[in-house]
């Protein structure tokens, strides 16, 4: 047993981790009762006079960040389209940029961004198209863009292959065919990898099937987190970057309308993330590569980089929570409301 001196024992509040153990070992109930010294034991019990809700204090002004989680929800960047030799070519320009953003009310984070936002723009194409992404590095650090999908090594966006790391001020063009259909992601692949991703260099990349999907209210939810004090674990968790953003202002959806959620987990420093919806169930399409759902459920778990399409309808009006079922993530920012209206 760890030796602790008498004063250390006495000043346990600030010093001794072993105090609870000692407290339990030494029979002393009589002392407490006789002295009445710790009224909590006898008097206060577990009465809590104040009501208590988890949540951040204050709110984040989207004008300061230059992006709004509510806008990110339904903001699909389809690029510019042109025809080249009978083929549809879709083009984007993405600029890496160092930018301080507010990730929870009052908490600033020195982020690395694609096009000044975290997550980066949700790129959307249709299978079979030729995609051309011009990447400009306006950051002070070397970066790349690595796309999930099927393409040549030359355009994989990893250091040492093809154009490799793009130095500050430099640029390159990634070109490949949109395949397979589904919900993918892109992120920086420079090393150290965890840092380049955790600082905000990621975004969603959707390839629609040629024949399209049924009409729906489509929502982008990117599960992310922020290690604000560089201890390799996140202090803040969110969907679409700002903690509790959809608690403060719920996501409005229509009753009985089909809602399609594009869900991506890009969390660093934690092995899994999860998604749970209250008072409802959804169809799950893993990676969106199949047109048949694999399950009907209300909770799913995603590893790092994993993504799913979730489809559901809300039969009743009202406010319904959705959040990570990892309670820690939920209470550190990853929770929100759907507000179902007629």
């Amino acid at each position: 047993m760890k030796k602790i001196s008498r004063r250390k024992l006495l000043t346990g509040g600030s010093l001794a981790a072993a105090v609870p153990m000692v407290h339990a070992l030494v029979p002393h109930r009589g002392v407490h009762d006789a002295l009445g010294a710790e009224p909590g034991h006898a008097a206060t019990g577990h009465a809590h006079p104040r009501s208590f809700h988890v949540g951040a204090v204050g709110s984040v002004d989207p004008r300061v960040n230059g992006f709004d989680p509510h806008a990110i929800l339904r903001d699909f960047d389809r690029g510019t389209v042109r025809r080249e030799g009978g083929r549809t070519v879709r083009e984007w320009e993405i600029v890496a940029e160092d930018k301080e953003i507010e990730v929870a009310p009052g908490v600033k984070y020195a982020a690395w961004t694609y096009n000044g936002r975290v997550p980066g723009p949700t790129l959307r194409a249709t299978e079979g198209e030729l995609l051309r992404i011009r990447f400009v590095n306006g950051s002070e650090h070397p970066h790349t863009m690595h796309f999930h999908g099927i393409h040549t090594a030359e355009h994989d966006g990893v250091p040492g292959i093809g154009p490799g790391d793009i130095q500050p001020g430099g640029s390159t063009v990634y070109e490949f065919e949109a395949e397979p259909f589904g919900i993918h992601l892109y992120h920086c692949h420079s090393t150290p990898l965890a840092d380049h991703i955790a600082k905000g260099l990621y975004g969603m990349f959707i390839v629609d099937p040629a024949e399209g999907r049924p009409e729906a209210d489509e929502l982008v939810l990117v599960q992310n987190g922020f290690d604000t004090n560089f201890d390799r674990s996140n202090e803040i968790y969110a969907v679409n970057t700002v903690a509790f953003a959809y608690m403060e202002r719920p996501i409005r959806v229509k009753r009985d309308e089909l809602v399609r959620i594009y869900l991506l987990n890009i969390l660093e420093f934690d092995l899994v993330n999860s998604f749970h919806i209250h008072a409802n169930f959804f169809n799950r399409f893993p990676t969106g590569t199949s047109r048949e759902p694999t399950e009907l459920t209300d909770t799913i778990v995603q590893g790092q980089g994993q993504r799913d399409i979730l489809e559901l309808r809300f039969p009743y009006t009202g406010k319904y929570m959705f959040h990570a079922h990892v309670s820690e993530f939920a209470e550190l920012g990853w929770m929100g409301f759907f507000e179902v209206v007629d």
Partner: protein, 399 residues
């Protein structure tokens, strides 16, 4: 005539004394201004702000956690969010922005549960985390009359009563061989040495939990030096008075008083620890611990009466000695309960250690045998016995 007046050359007006005194300051000011104007390196701090906020006190009230903060870093810190057990929680503060050395209070309404541990943290505007862990949640006692009465009672049990019991050895000491007095004095030195080392270690440890800006562990040594010098001054003054009163005074009472003062300062630190532990609600004291303390401190009474064995002072004086040694435990408990601060605690432990060092220096000559040897077998035996005794009784209150 002043000799310097003649050295002034005729016709040269002498500089006034006040100007001569200010001249170096003026030169220094010019040098600093020049340094700044020349844009000397290292003047402008750059990079991420250094955030260092000390949690000076944590209070628990029903449904509420209250943190008292002090910014001890060089940069202004803004408190942005509060986290308890990995959950953002609401909080209120009188001033979220803390300048250097500024203090602030953060109130967190939280349904804490008696006896459980909590990880409390504050997030700053830059995303830094200020940790304020709570090892065992218990309500912070209200500082009312009853509470101070309780502190006095504990101080009495831990401080005064054991010392008084130890002093009951006086009649026995008076009857034993004078050579054994020397042994007992050596034993006293051993006891004191143990307490002194203990105080230094504890002070350093407590200082580490507090604000470095106020001196950290340096406060312990500063306290020790202050106590040593003050007591040495008081001692020489008292001796002078005693010499005037009695030409051949052995100074037994003076020595006993010094021992009592040293022990008293030590007990002050001990009381402080008890009071602060109560204040943060983490006092893990069982009855067995109070008994252990009492036994441990009983030996202090023996240390006080050993120097006065030859000429026993009147009861009134003995009572005074007992109070000087024991009562500070009560005062310490009050201070600790109402205004605990790691820096203050470190300084008080330092005071105790310095006082003890001074007393040891005072007693040391009395350990010499007839041949003038300091480390004679009897003295060394006493020293070791004293250390062993303290160590052994210390085990009673250590786990």
């Amino acid at each position: 005539m002043e000799p310097t007046a003649t050295t002034a050359a005729p016709g040269v007006r002498r500089m006034p004394a006040w100007l001569a005194g200010l001249l170096p300051l003026g030169v220094l000011a010019v040098a600093i201004v020049a340094f700044v104007l020349l844009d000397a390196p290292g003047l402008e701090r750059s990079g991420v702000p250094v955030e260092d906020v000390a949690v000076e006190r944590t209070e628990l009230h029903p449904g509420e956690i209250e943190l008292q903060l002090r910014n001890v870093g060089p940069d202004t810190v803004t408190i942005a969010q509060a986290i308890v057990n990995d959950a953002f929680v609401p909080f209120e503060t009188d001033d979220p922005e803390l300048g250097r050395l500024e203090a602030s209070t953060v109130d967190i309404p939280f349904p804490w549960i008696e006896g459980e541990a909590y990880e409390v943290a504050l997030l700053t505007a830059t995303g830094g985390a200020i940790a304020a862990p709570i090892e065992v949640a218990a309500e912070t006692p209200g500082a009312d009359v009853g509470f101070y009465g309780l502190m006095a009672l504990i101080g009495l049990y831990v401080g005064i009563i054991p010392v008084a019991i130890g002093m009951l050895w006086l009649p026995w000491i008076r009857r034993i061989d004078p050579r054994w007095i020397r042994f007992l004095l050596a034993l006293t030195v051993g006891l004191l040495a143990f307490l002194g080392i203990d105080a230094l270690l504890e002070g350093t440890e407590i200082a580490a939990t507090g604000a470095e800006a106020f001196g950290g562990a340096g406060l312990v040594w500063l306290g020790a030096l202050v106590a040593y010098l003050a007591l040495a001054g008081i001692d020489s003054g008292m001796r002078a008075r005693e010499r005037r009163a009695r030409a051949a005074g052995a100074g037994g009472f003076t020595l006993a008083l010094l021992v009592a003062v040293g022990i008293g300062l030590h007990n002050l630190g001990e009381g402080l620890a008890i009071g602060s532990a109560y204040a943060v609600g983490s006092l893990a004291l069982g009855a067995s611990l109070i008994v252990g303390f009492a036994l441990h401190n009983t030996t202090e009474g023996l240390a006080i009466v050993a120097p006065v064995a030859e000429r026993a002072p009147p009861l009134r004086r003995l009572a005074l000695l007992g109070l000087v040694a024991g009562a500070p435990a009560i005062v310490g408990a009050w201070i600790g309960a109402s205004a605990f601060n790691a820096g203050l605690a470190a300084f008080l432990f330092g005071l105790g250690a310095g006082a003890i060092a001074q007393v040891v220096v005072q007693i040391a000559p009395s350990l010499r045998d007839t041949a003038g040897r300091l480390f004679n077998p009897l003295a060394v035996g006493g020293l070791l016995t004293g250390l062993a005794l303290m160590y052994a009784t210390g085990l009673l209150i250590s786990v």
